[in-house]
Amino acid sequence: MEKDKSKRLASELPLAIITGLLFGLGGVFTKTAVQGIEIFNIFSIENWIALIINPAFIGMVFTSIVGMITWFWALSKGRASIVTPVISGFMVMVPVILGLTIFSEPLSTIKLIGIILVTVGNLVLGSKRLQS
């Protein structure tokens, strides 16, 4: 019984990291898929076609579906208090790192502090709810 529990908990962290990576990569694929479109108009058929025929769209759909599966899996195997913050952390970290490198977006001190504050604020607000 105790062995089963420790085995279950040992899988929570890898599953949470994989989920966070998938959701983070999903954001990067989404950005890549809409990059050629100036402003994505949800009522424009042309925009939807441009999105769907972009190879990054496959990555976007794949990471979303597999991410959902590993997310439910992680929550069913592990503790929400561990799984949720790890997923949120990777979900922010991966697109930020790839945004700076692949998309050459600028990183100012203001932006960096903003990213840290939003992430910390989210963890503070989420921790109470997860405990209950």
Binding site: G24, G27, V28, T30, K31, V34, Q35, I37, E38, I39, F40, N41, I42, L51, S88, M91, V92, P95, V96, L98, G99, L100, F103, E105, L107, S108, I110, K111, I113, G114, I115, I116, L117, V118, T119, V120, G121, N122, V124, L125, G126, S127, K128, R129
Partner: protein, 134 residues
């Protein structure tokens, strides 16, 4: 200068709709019968009756409203990320807890703890700075 960048506003709208959709979807999922790992198998065969029952229960108003809100949020995210920087949009997308707590405060008149007020202030400061960097 705009007070708030259009794509930051869209990213916040996306996080609000996606954040609010989750508890509503969960309420809808609570209507499902108890499901073990092999819930869809009966006597070694696929139990189509049980699968149909689960799908029927899934089509309840909470789950549908939750999915619709999630989809509208995703559309807002798509437009936001097409205009703006991923390094701004993606962090803003994770402020779902912030909206849930604010809705609880203003709509359900819930009492907040000190740590939650601190969390709200930290998040607002973060949003403010990311908007400046947008």
């Amino acid at each position: 200068m705009e007070i708030i960048s259009f794509y930051v506003l869209l990213a916040l709208l996306a996080s609000l709709l996606i954040g609010v959709s989750k508890p509503i979807q969960k309420k809808g999922l609570d209507k499902l019968p108890n499901m073990d790992d092999d819930w869809w198998i009966a006597e070694g065969k696929i139990d189509f009756v049980k699968i149909r029952k689960v799908l029927h229960n899934l089509l309840n108003k909470y789950f549908i409203v939750g999915i619709v809100l999630f989809f509208i949020g995703w559309l807002a995210y798509l437009t936001s990320i097409s205009i703006g920087q991923i390094t701004v949009v993606q962090p803003l997308l994770t402020v779902g807890n912030f909206w849930t707590i604010l809705l609880g405060l203003f709509w359900l008149h819930e009492k907040l703890e000190k740590s939650e007020y601190i969390g709200i202030i930290i998040t607002i400061a973060g949003i403010f700075l990311l908007n400046m960097a947008a």
